[in-house]
């Protein structure tokens, strides 16, 4: 009887550990998607500001960011399925 709460805690802890270890790639994929778009758009903005090419730098940067972000997302998803 006294064993039950500690057994439940131990099972809960193991499940938590399992979910934590599985959540890594998903977290990394989501941050890579967002990070790519932000990084490339900001880079485009910096180029626009330096060379007065507005708005092409931002637009091209956003396009490259979206492509790179979705590529990394797809890689994580398909890599995970394998």
């Amino acid at each position: 009887m006294t064993d039950k709460p500690s057994r439940n805690f131990s099972r809960g802890w193991s499940a938590f550990q399992k979910f934590v270890s599985q959540s890594g790639p998903a977290a990394s994929a989501s941050y890579a998607l967002l990070g790519s778009i932000l990084f490339c758009t900001l880079l485009g903005y910096v180029i626009d500001t330096a060379y007065e090419t507005s708005p092409y730098g931002v637009l091209i940067g956003m396009g490259i960011g979206l492509t790179a972000g979705f590529y990394h997302l797809a890689k994580t998803m398909w890599g995970g399925r394998k």
Binding site: V20, S21, G24
Partner: protein, 309 residues
């Protein structure tokens, strides 16, 4: 951004609220440093508020982690008790649930110390930002010691510019992310050799025109990882503090809007409990952000070691 850039100009309360909030979350000004140090290779090494906080955090980490662990290891019959027991549980959790599944059993003992250092350092840096140390010191300075705010030679008056959350500074998180970036390179090189590490960046056996697109995308991905780490941690730590200060500012805004102290006091009945609730949420955020940075670093290092295309 430094605190003095924003200033405390005259104007209505509404005009000053934004400045006050920015002043609180930003670093102190490099032109009025807390400790003067020389300029080497064009870089001013003087100590600002966030640099001082980094030193404090490093000291706390040494006292809270290194000292008990050394004492525990030096004991004849090491049995973890109290703080050491908690420390052991946390270390074991991070090693077995974060580092091992990502980098693999072969490299777990190589990279676990770095990941653990990240975790504890960020946890202490985030946590210390929740403690109103300098505000309390300021109160003591002003009301108990009677030092006026205009006294520019007073050490505590210097400390009252900007908040104490070092991890809310993008330069600090960029520094931490740079360590992760370099670690990814070293981990990949150690596991596969220098040439193979770079070859592993893209999938093998594709038609050559595909590589024209893939190589730049993968190179972008290389820089995106530390960038995401930098922005995420600093933005989350700054965001919480801005939310709390904005909620507390309602009191001053309402008092100004209705030209009545009672309106401000009445608003306090709403904004103080709300700020307390956000503060409670921030305590969870402190833990979660340290955990997420650690998790992502372990995943990125693991991706360089265990290459799957």
């Amino acid at each position: 951004m430094s605190a003095t850039d924003t200033g405390h100009g005259a104007g209505s309360v509404m005009d000053r609220v934004g400045d006050n909030i920015i002043h609180h979350v930003s670093n102190s000004d490099i032109s009025h440093p807390i400790i003067h140090l020389p300029t080497i290779f064009g870089i001013d090494f003087s100590v600002t508020k966030h640099v001082l906080m980094l030193w404090v955090v490093a000291l706390i980490a040494c006292v809270a982690i290194i000292v008990p662990v050394r004492r525990y290891l030096a004991a004849e019959r090491p049995i973890p008790k109290g703080w050491m027991n908690l420390l052991e549980a946390v270390v074991q959790f991070i090693r077995d649930s974060l580092v091992k599944p990502n980098v693999g059993p072969k490299w777990v003992m190589t990279w676990a110390p770095l990941i653990l250092t990240f975790f504890f350092f960020i946890l202490f840096a985030n946590g210390i930002g929740m403690v109103p140390i300098f505000e309390t010191l300021g109160l003591v300075n002003r009301f108990a010691l009677g030092v006026p705010a205009s006294d520019s030679h007073n050490f505590i008056n210097h400390l009252l510019h900007g908040g104490p959350t070092a991890t809310g500074n993008f330069n600090v998180t960029a520094g931490l992310a740079t360590i992760t970036f370099l670690t990814i390179m070293v981990a990949g090189t150690k596991a596969h050799g220098f040439i193979n590490h770079w070859k592993n960046l893209v999938p093998h056996g594709l038609a050559w025109p595909v590589y024209i697109i893939l190589i730049p995308i993968e190179l972008i991905g290389l820089f995106v990882k530390p960038f995401a780490l930098t922005m995420r941690l600093a933005a989350n730590m700054t965001g919480g503090h801005i939310a709390i200060l904005a909620i507390l500012s309602f009191m001053a805004i309402f008092a100004d809007m209705f030209h009545s102290v009672a309106a401000g006091v009445g608003m306090a009945a709403v904004s103080v409990p709300m700020a307390a609730a956000v503060n409670a949420l921030e305590i969870i955020v402190v833990l979660v952000q340290a955990y997420v940075f650690t998790l992502l670093s372990a995943v990125f290092i693991g991706m360089a070691i265990n290459v799957h295309h």
